[in-house]
Symmetry: C2
Subunit: 580 residues, 2 copies
Amino acid sequence: MTAPVTTPVTTAPAALAAEALIERHRPALDRALEAIRSREYWSPHPEHPKAYGEGGNGTPGSLSAEQGQAAFDALRGSRFELDGQPGTGGWASSEVSPYGLEMGIEYPRPDLDVLLPAMREAMPAWREAGPQVRAAVCLEILARISARTHEFAHAVMHTSGQAFMMAFQAGGPHAQDRGMEAVAYAYAEQTRTPEAAAWSKPQGKRDPLDLSKHFTAVGRGVSLLIGCNTFPTWNSYPGLFASLATGNPVLVKPHPRAVLPLALTVRIARDVLAEAGFDPNLVALAAERDGEGIAKELAVRPEIRIIDYTGSTAFGDWLEAHARQARVFTEKAGVNTVIIDSTDDYKGMLGNLAFSLSLYSGQMCTTPQNLLIPRGGIATDVGEKSYDEVVGDLATAVGKLLGDDARAHALLGALVNPQVRERVESAPALGEVALAARSLDHPDFPGATVRTPVIVKLETAEPGAEAVWSEECFGPVSFAVAVGSTSDAVALLRRTIRDKGAMTVGAYTTSPDAERMIEDACLDECAQLSLNLTGGVYVNQTAAFSDFHGSGGNPAANAALCDTAFVADRFRTVEVRRPA
Amino acid sequence: MTAPVTTPVTTAPAALAAEALIERHRPALDRALEAIRSREYWSPHPEHPKAYGEGGNGTPGSLSAEQGQAAFDALRGSRFELDGQPGTGGWASSEVSPYGLEMGIEYPRPDLDVLLPAMREAMPAWREAGPQVRAAVCLEILARISARTHEFAHAVMHTSGQAFMMAFQAGGPHAQDRGMEAVAYAYAEQTRTPEAAAWSKPQGKRDPLDLSKHFTAVGRGVSLLIGCNTFPTWNSYPGLFASLATGNPVLVKPHPRAVLPLALTVRIARDVLAEAGFDPNLVALAAERDGEGIAKELAVRPEIRIIDYTGSTAFGDWLEAHARQARVFTEKAGVNTVIIDSTDDYKGMLGNLAFSLSLYSGQMCTTPQNLLIPRGGIATDVGEKSYDEVVGDLATAVGKLLGDDARAHALLGALVNPQVRERVESAPALGEVALAARSLDHPDFPGATVRTPVIVKLETAEPGAEAVWSEECFGPVSFAVAVGSTSDAVALLRRTIRDKGAMTVGAYTTSPDAERMIEDACLDECAQLSLNLTGGVYVNQTAAFSDFHGSGGNPAANAALCDTAFVADRFRTVEVRRPA
């Protein structure tokens, strides 16, 4: 079975020799390995748009802003062909830009009975390549993606609704960082066991028992990536590269409304794989029509042995329950809390929170939803502030931050789908409105739905209020919840994490006792905590190589991006032993 | 919640100071960490019975053979108290020695609503102790177990039916090695991320963004260990110590017929934990009456977040399907194959196979079941041998090996339960008998059921034969299956692994082509392969720190003992970040 597959690799000289790829990417791999151990700041992918393109300063061959725009425009209204991907059973076009831009791109729908066996066929040669070559190929794919960051930025913007700069950074360098981080973890883990070992067991006066042992990292099987609408690259690259680097073919099933960023990714991956002498079917695309729901069919196919999923809790739970032939990694919904106990930088706190609530219209899995504030007020550097004052001042801060329309558009982006708009519109029915949503017209995209955040006041003593704040309300809606005390807030935090999960927890306090209490709650309930953020770091942002995204230990997600547990079970080690 | 629990730790000085424990055990931990990286031979636990006791040579304070026997005898017919284990709801006595020895020991049955909350309460202080202290405490537990290896040997012998020497080695040093291996993996993984990091992100001309980050390894919750009848310590110690070392309390639910070895383990663990100033409820025992089936109730309790299980495929599958609140590690049944293609040491091959089939009456999850032999015969160093000759010579080799009764008893042990005896007795109905089982009377234990192995001839061309060999026939029954060719054997091997799973694969061949074909099959289907074993290493034995037990990638088991995947998901890393 393996012979015919490996033959082309050994006979046809690859355009990209393995040695050259290793030489090119080994330094970055080593640096990434160091970063995930030290957790210090590091990123090889520049954040600034001007760092790309001929006029740029360091990424030769990369697309400039103009070239990226042109490349994106050329894709619109066309059929997105993937050279040689077998088993295409028709074409699907399902994207709707949240900015109203006409996309009209058709993508291949798979014939699974043709495609999946072809992907499995690609495994033995990929296995034989070994962890270092696989890592180098993955980093070459990331390098080519990085060179086209401007093109990806438009693709992410017009599928997720993120503002351009955020689409550029989160969809570009930050996503690429997360992909490289996964490659580093995968490489570290696969090389923990040596390729070979000599084993010699003493037998007293008799000769020792001598064995020669060989260890091979072996992928589990085809890995299914189920992408999401809001972060098509950022949430997908960890799973994609973790699986590919550990020897598994990856079938990419994008969200029907956010296909292009992943289709581009698949095309680049296939190009690199083919140039490096491997079967391009190690990465393939499975597009679908909106509402078709092929993920359910795919997820329980026996060939699928790994699944990465970001999306609703309902479907994540379904996957965990039904796709039992696969190892399932899920990021689902959660309810994120910020406890406001006290602060020595009231203005900084308000500004930081206002930004967190506004960024991408609160459509991040990490955006705070419930702000727990003692109804007796809080101590600050500018005196005691009552609950009403805190909420009012926060509303003012959000209003100021978004007062300038250009700045508001650059922060908010567009609402990703009509359900989010409906949630914003029905928020006033949930309680007293401290800050009402404002509708903005986008200067460049008249079809964009843009809303500023809503803040609703709730009171724990009120019957029915808990039913409101204890459910995820995805989008720019947050609840300023009046609580009896910080202790009550911590008790509510514990319950919320345990029952609903949380991707992030934030807290503001100057009290060591309160800080300890909040930390203990997060340690006990397993949630990531950001304390007293008042500057340019926000609770909803994490940095690859340093921060863990989610904990994997509460209902919001069963995995963290990225740690060893995220990669270690994607491959198994097969041992062959024989007398020495 | 954490304060009252941690108070005793900080106020009452522990009899065993953490520093002293670390000093005592750090060298072994370092050596173990080195061994799991090099995979070279290493074991800190002596295999020879004379290495223990006052007359022994290197384990001061350990029990001698006589002391171990006396300690075991003193336990029989008594109530096994566990000082301070809360929530005991009655007592259970269910053990039946396969040697017919009256056990009559009563063990505590748990009141889960009392015991499980008490175990959870113990977590925060155990978490705060950190990975190094937890590792040192675990290694102290193992050292105390090691000192009582003679006592454990009798306990394992009279619950599993293993012969004394095997119970001593596999139930003693080999099990302790596997426990220490798990501690090493757990420590390595928890210390991969630093406790703290300074993160500084450049901002061009502005000040950098500076954060201080703290990372804490946090256990998932109560870990449930479901023990098995045949290897009560060996199959349990990896999961027990992996969970404990990663911060989780462990509830030990032994097989109702093999309680004593794990009850002793729990008692020692509780003693060490208490002496080290920790809550002894970090390790507790849940005994039950035979047939009571409390594992089903326990497995789905919300407090249970990790499960380790060794046993039947049916219950393993049930656990994977139903205990979805927990991370479930299972070792289930498989069908192990040996392919006999050719050999340059015919006599060595026959002797090695005869030993593998006889050891512990074939009651190991690693014992070969199907011997695939080309019906046209095989090439050997002593000429061509027909299928009939190979089978006949193997039968003769087994007969010779077990010809001396004393030696036979030392190898075979006793049948663990009546189901195995029934299987042996009904084997002749399955095909032509090449070697019939012989019943032996045990000189010391007249109640022991002792049988020599049966070998049954089967023929792939025969209708219905596949139904026989393709199911696990646990016990001393093997099938000599006549196949068309080595290629046919490899095809059958692939199918067997894929459909039924395999803990081990063996093969004999002098042909590089056949060897490559067999290796590829094992790599593709993810099974551990032993080639051309003709000396003192057997396909059914693995060595801790070097060999992986199972692959975790085929239906026989979803985990391997021991690798990173076995430990990495037992804890999560919680990050707390704040402005620097």
